[in-house]
């Protein structure tokens, strides 16, 4: 308690901005949740491969963004990701695990890259990173928690409906990115 008062103000704001960054853009949020939805729909082992692999792929993208390594088509990639993931959920698509992992990993890379280049100047890097990763993980958890309705009869169509919403949002963002 008392020691915390000694942590620089910049440290606390770094953590908070890291925590709030992934949830501040709706395009990011729905894509993250869609990963969780799809993972839950795919069932084992995807439901855990995706949340384990996603943060690492995303951090890889973030690292590239921070270092200034360009990644072509980031904006379109992010906008497309929500649409593609939404369509996957609507179609209840069941590609082989590695295909799903590559799709999600690629999108993770794009999202991470965008976050990396948007990092606020002067923030504390260490705590920003930790806050960022925690927020992303929690968004997945939300998606997976919603996706758990997949095990009920009424849940499967509902889940696909949610996928349709995500896809519609994705189309909107794609249109914005291209316009």
């Amino acid at each position: 308690m008392t020691f915390l008062a000694h942590v620089e103000a910049g440290a606390a704001s770094g953590f908070l901005s890291g925590l709030s960054h992934p949830v501040s853009g709706l395009d990011h949020v729905i894509a993250m949740v869609a990963v969780g939805l799809w993972g839950a729909q795919l069932g084992k082992p995807a439901v855990w491969v995706l949340p384990v692999a996603f943060p690492i792929a995303m951090a890889l993208g973030g690292m590239m963004g921070l270092m200034g390594i360009p990644l072509p088509g980031v904006e379109v990639g992010i906008a497309a990701s929500a649409m593609v993931l939404g369509v996957m959920v609507v179609a209840a698509a069941r590609p082989p695990l590695w295909v799903a992992a590559v799709i999600v990993g690629l999108f993770a890379l794009f999202h991470g890259h965008a976050h990396g280049t948007e990092l606020p100047a002067g923030a504390n890097g260490t705590l920003y990173s930790i806050g960022f990763v925690i927020a992303t993980g929690l968004l997945h958890a939300v998606g997976i928690a919603i996706g758990l309705i997949h095990r009920y009869d009424w849940g499967r169509p509902t889940l696909r409906g949610a996928g349709a919403l995500v896809a519609a949002g994705g189309v909107f963002f794609l249109w914005q990115a291209l316009a």
Binding site: T2, F3, H6, V7, E8, A11, W48, P51, V52, A53, F54, P55, I56, M58, A59, L60, G62, M63, M64, G65, L66, M67, G68, G116, L119, N124, G125, T126, L127, Y128, S129, I130, F132, V133, I134, T136, G137
Partner: protein, 180 residues
């Protein structure tokens, strides 16, 4: 290091060292990653960790205390905890020799950084003892919470934790080499 300026608790060097460990994210993440790794691997690894990690930390710390110029670069202390986090994400059960070697290398490295900070910013050996005790408590308690986990979902949660630690490491590396 962002928080390398020493925290003063007003409780003397021992508690300053303890608080310094708790407020240095690289050090906390490394110790937590090792604790998760050992917790997933079972009781034997958990016991080995309780003995080996604080010893390696103290050894490295003494070295850093005696030769503060050995302060390792932040890249090294960041890569090391990322590697251990990755091993947790992959749920790899290391052979004993590799496990001990990894502890000696990674915890020793962080210990050197710790000892060097203690030497240059104030509390000295008493601070190192405090930090080592904090590490010892952490590696005693965390694996004990995990060794009993049998449900696949619970193990997955731990692996996700490891993946987050690895991700934080990658982002921090990007941060260290950030453009502009």
């Amino acid at each position: 290091m962002p928080l390398a300026h020493l925290v003063q608790t007003g409780f003397g060097g021992f508690y300053d060292g303890l608080a310094h460990w708790a407020l240095t994210p690289q050090d906390v993440l490394l110790v937590v990653a090792f604790a998760l790794l050992a917790g997933l691997a079972g009781k034997q690894r958990a016991r080995q960790l309780v003995l080996a990690l604080p010893s390696a930390w103290l050894l490295g710390g003494l070295l850093g205390l005696l030769v503060p110029s050995l302060m390792p670069p932040e890249l090294a202390t960041t890569l090391s905890f990322g590697l251990v986090g990755l091993l947790v994400a992959l749920d790899r059960r290391l052979p004993a020799a590799a496990f001990f070697a990894l502890i000696l290398a990674a915890a020793g490295l962080h210990g050197v950084a710790n000892g060097s900070t203690m030497a240059t910013t104030g509390p000295g050996w008493l601070g190192l003892v405090g930090a080592t005790l904090a590490v010892f408590i952490a590696v005693s308690l965390i694996p004990a919470l995990l060794v009993g986990l049998k449900k696949p979902a619970a193990r997955v949660a731990v692996r996700v934790g490891g993946s987050w630690i690895a991700a934080a490491s990658l982002l921090m590396i990007g941060w260290l080499f950030r453009a502009g």
